[in-house]
């Protein structure tokens, strides 16, 4: 039934703006005057107004059609914390520029819509919007509302666009960092150096680029080889590792609290360069040697459920 209703839904929504309402009132008035007097030049003025309404529809359709939207994280998003989303609107396959477009991601917690004054044909533009997610977990598939008042501001036409490759994930709300993380000291059994962000000197590996990475960390050769932006991960000084344990199954509320603390611990460990191991029940899901450990650990914490299973997450992620 839902699918049927969705199929029957109009592809565009139209809202009459304040000037548009006055314009319509004026047009109706001219129509009444034309009928009353039989003056054909008033009919001509009425036709002019009607043609402006039609033109408005055509131009706004040209403006919206062919627009593509990408939504991504500018920074890591934690539940109940302020973060930023990047909204990229591209007019790659368009011949007419997109003018006065605003895009509002249909995600709870997304703030003001991103406004794009002009996107030239074949070009793209990126805007950042504030985002305050309510809870952790992968963000389910969502649509973005793309709207415009171009050209005459008489109507606001909007369309729902599914963003390209938008797999957003919200990490758990970091708990109180003073509270000791669950688990125990696991010693220096890792026998190597742990990642410490980019504070170290020697390169440990590369990972995918995220918008907040500085340009100086881009690994140009790897980027060229792989065809996408890659950044360097650097080694840090050896440190004592700890074991982070999430007992499953747990009561949901208690489990959320534990996840929150685990998240805070992961962040602390990452900040201090302390190697750690993340266990969910008796399964070790993140070990000190895991590449892209921070992201993986946070992703698992975002997706883990109270019974120990993991929700599907970003592309390629799983157990």
């Amino acid at each position: 039934m839902k699918n049927l209703l969705r199929a029957l839904r109009l592809p565009r929504k139209l809202r009459v703006t304040f000037p548009g309402k006055w314009f319509l009132v004026l047009t109706v008035g001219v129509g009444v005057a034309a009928i009353n007097t039989g003056n054909n030049l008033l009919y001509l003025a009425l036709s002019m107004n009607l043609s402006l309404i039609i033109l408005s529809g055509i131009l706004s359709e040209w403006c919206l059609r062919g627009l593509r939207v990408r939504v991504g994280h500018v920074s890591e998003a934690f539940a109940s914390r302020e973060s930023l989303l990047s909204v990229t609107c591209s007019a790659e396959s368009k011949r007419f520029p997109a003018i006065s477009v605003s895009v509002s991601p249909g995600i709870p917690g997304a703030g003001k819509p991103a406004r794009f004054p002009e996107i030239p044909p074949g070009g793209a533009d990126t805007r950042v919007v504030p985002y305050r997610p309510g809870h952790r977990g992968p963000v389910p598939a969502f649509a973005c509302t793309v709207s415009t008042r171009f050209p005459f501001a008489l109507f606001e036409k909007s369309a729902e666009v599914t963003p390209l490759e938008s797999s957003l994930i919200v990490y758990p709300e970091p708990g109180d960092p003073d509270v000791a993380p669950p688990g125990r000291d696991m010693g220096d059994h890792a026998g190597g150096k742990a990642a410490r962000g980019r504070e170290g000197t020697s390169i440990r590996g590369v990972r995918d680029h995220i918008p907040s990475d500085p340009v100086r960390d881009i690994h140009w050769k790897a980027s060229a080889r792989l065809g996408k932006w890659m950044v360097k991960e650097r080694e840090a000084e050896p440190a004592q590792g700890i074991d982070l344990l999430l007992p499953v199954p747990s009561p949901p509320q208690e489990f959320e609290r534990l996840v929150s603390h685990a998240c805070a611990s992961v962040l602390t460990c990452e900040r201090q360069g302390v190697p750690y191991r993340l266990r969910v029940g008796d399964r070790v899901l993140v070990s000190p040697e895991t590449g892209g450990r921070r992201r993986k650990a946070l992703s698992i914490l975002a997706r883990v459920t109270a019974d120990g299973s993991l929700l599907p997450g970003e592309k390629g992620e799983g157990l």
């Binding site: 030049l41 003025a45 036709s47 520029p97 004054p117 050209p151």
Partner: protein, 682 residues
């Protein structure tokens, strides 16, 4: 760019918005009788306000002065209504001009912008309500384009205010082109909408005051006075098309009758009786006579507004078609419309041979044989002239031929009475000839009357219609011969050699053709025309479909079948080709589809660098290419460094550039591109 704490629209849109605000003044000035002083004042206020807006001058305290100006405007409008023109529309327009002038001068908010647009539209409507001139079409086109520009400007301004960003700089070329296309498309759409909007309860008469006085000869009485002013008046009074014309009939030789006069008191011709009888109507047809003569001809007459509510018909008219309201007649060939001083369009079906018998049979009546007292000399002359004739027709023709020799056409030294014309001066104009012939016929026992109207005119080869001017006004005689009124014209033909004949020239004919089409298809467009167009289109469609079906079904229709298959194949190919699309890559060389495309200034810079030999390849980013290129030109290095810093932030975050920084990045990209290009060229 801030004006009074408000964002200002840059470039073409700013001018477009201002032009739209003032565009309502143009049709008012050129097409209406609104006070020129008031329009000039509003125009001056517009110029002053535009300058103040441009310079961003503060206008604190001007609102008080504005209130005073508004009160003055209201007082002027009231004075005009009660003591001046007395026209409500004109007074309202004066008031609107006052409000507009004040708004021009004061600082404008976003809402003021919309209000000024609405005022401009009201002025445009006022012009539409009071004119029928073709120039209105030009103003419509202009107004449409400027409306689009103005609303675009206000929309951009509103979006910028809502988003807290600067109004984007629009490219002048793109903006002008878009506005032009919008105007052209809008004009075409307007034409379509105009054609399909149903004319519900439409009146055919336009309530437009005629500025012309009554045309000589069409009042209730005519006399032998000076008609020079009429004969030199070149204004067009009618345009006549002939959809059906009997063979051998020449349009310029047809007499277009406006009235007949039967009573003559020695100095003046007067109408016989009052026009009290209503003409019978069947649908949109008015039945003037019983149809007997065949074949019938038809004429589509488009009368310009004149100062008299006369219905002009050709002698022998059987019926008149059109939405003309009530028509009254006196049964003697005079027809009067219920409304005068209006442009009017109707079709006349007539027998060119003369008047057929009437539906209600009227005899000629005794008045058509009456002679003024002291007409014995006329009776003697009539006896001499017409005695060889055996029938009324022969006597009538003899009387007409009497004026062909010894009489001269003149407007200057004319006779003051019929006797003087017939027996002494023998010089006069058409009214003298008509009066002389009428009295001669009456003296010979043939009922006769004087008829007035138009004769001649210029045939337009461009539009295939007859252009009739006021100088073509004419008077002639109608005699009751063979049981009907027969036209007898004693005035010698003047033809194209006449000093009164007006010729337009080729360009003039085209201009008049445009005006004729405007009057026919816009000013007088009606529900009936809509119905005709729909039925005509439907029949044409059915005819075409039937024709195609027959051609394909025919045994020898192999060619038609092949042609149809070919057309279908071509259409399918074009559709497939169109769907496939031919897109040029929006990515500069070296970029891939997966990459986020570059914005325009960056992409242009990258292309210029590539063209300059700094090829992009995998792993060679813009900064390397730019550093390599700019390294050869030390003067560009600071700009390149600043540009790269902005470029990195714009492309890779953490946040977007501000509008000022974005503009700077674009400017630097263009600067570097030009600098590198110049060097390469050198």
């Amino acid at each position: 760019m801030q004006t009074e704490g408000r964002v200002r629209i840059p470039g073409v849109l700013w001018f477009s918005l201002r032009a739209h605000w003032a565009s309502g003044l143009l049709p008012l000035a050129f097409l209406t009788e609104i006070s020129r002083t008031a329009i000039a004042f509003a125009a001056a206020a517009f110029v002053a306000g535009a300058v103040l807006d441009w310079t961003g001058s503060s206008r604190r305290g001007w609102h008080r002065a504005g209130f005073f100006l508004l009160a003055t405007g209201a007082a002027a409008a009231a004075a005009d209504l009660f003591f001046g023109s007395g026209d409500l529309l004109a007074s309202v327009v004066l008031l609107v001009l006052g409000v507009q002038s004040v708004k021009f001068l004061l600082p404008k908010t976003h809402r003021d912008g919309w209000q000024l647009c609405a005022i401009s539209f009201l002025e445009f409507l006022a012009a539409a309500a009071t004119t029928t001139e073709i120039q209105f079409a030009a103003f419509l086109f202009l107004f449409l384009g400027l409306s689009a520009g103005a609303m675009w400007a206000l929309q951009a301004e509103e979006a910028a205010e809502a988003g807290g960003i600067a109004v984007p700089r629009t490219r002048a070329g793109f903006t002008v082109l878009t506005l032009l296309l919008t105007a052209v498309t809008g004009f075409c759409l307007t034409a379509v909408m105009f054609a399909v909007t149903p004319r519900i309860g439409i009146e055919q008469f336009l309530r437009r005051s005629g500025n012309r006085g009554g045309i000589t000869g069409f009042s209730d009485a005519i006399s032998l006075r000076d008609v020079t002013s009429v004969k030199v008046d070149r204004r067009i009074v009618a345009r006549i098309e002939f959809p059906e014309l009997a063979p051998g009939v020449s349009p310029p030789e047809l007499h277009l009758r406006g009235g007949t006069y039967t009573r003559f008191d020695g100095t003046k011709w007067k109408r016989g009786r009052s026009l009290h009888e209503r003409v019978q109507k069947a649908g949109s047809y008015y039945l003037l006579s019983a149809q007997k003569a065949a074949p019938l001809s038809s004429a589509e007459i488009l009368m310009e507004p004149i100062g008299y509510s006369v219905l002009f018909v050709y002698p022998g008219t059987v019926s008149v078609e059109g939405a003309l309201g009530e028509i009254r007649t006196d049964g003697r060939g005079n027809y009067r419309l219920s409304a005068g001083k209006s442009a009017v369009r109707y079709q006349v079906h007539f027998a060119p041979g003369g008047s057929p018998p009437r539906i209600r049979s009227y005899g000629p009546g005794g008045a058509t044989l009456a002679l003024p007292p002291g007409s014995d000399d006329i009776r003697e002359l009539a006896m001499q002239v017409t005695s060889p004739g055996e029938s009324d027709a022969e006597r009538g023709e003899l009387a007409r031929q009497f004026f062909l020799s010894g009489f001269r056409y003149t407007l200057t030294d004319v006779a003051s009475s019929v006797q003087e014309f017939l027996f002494r001066k023998r010089a006069g104009f058409c009214e003298h000839y008509a009066a002389g012939l009428t009295l001669l016929l009456r003296a010979a026992g043939i009922p006769a009357r004087v008829a007035t109207g138009y004769l001649g005119g210029e045939w337009s080869d461009v539009g295939k219609y007859l252009i009739v001017r006021q100088s073509d006004a004419h008077a002639w005689t109608e005699g009751w011969i063979g049981g009907r009124w027969v036209t007898l014209d004693a005035t010698p033909p003047l033809g194209e050699d006449s000093p009164f004949f007006a010729r337009m020239g080729r360009i003039g004919l085209y201009l008049d053709w445009a005006k004729q089409r405007w009057n026919k298809y816009v000013v007088n467009y009606s529900l009936q025309m809509q119905a005709k167009a729909v039925s005509g289109g439907w029949f044409a469609l059915r005819r075409s479909a039937t024709g195609i079906r027959r051609a394909i079904r025919r045994p020898d229709g192999q060619v038609a079948r092949v042609a149809a298959a070919f057309v279908l194949a071509v259409a399918a190919f074009l559709l497939a080709w169109r769907m496939r699309g031919r897109r040029t890559s929006p990515f500069p060389r070296g970029m891939r589809k997966e990459d986020v495309p570059l914005s325009r200034p960056y992409a242009r810079l990258l292309r210029s660098l590539s063209a300059g030999g700094h090829r992009r390849s995998s792993g060679t980013p813009l900064e390397d290419m730019l550093s390599e290129a700019a390294g050869k030109i030390p003067s560009l290095l600071p700009d390149a460094a600043r540009f790269l810093s902005l470029y990195h932030r714009d492309r890779f975050g953490p946040g977007p550039l501000s509008s000022g920084e974005s503009a700077e990045a674009g400017r630097l990209a263009n600067l570097l591109r030009r600098g590198l290009f110049r060097t390469d060229a050198n």
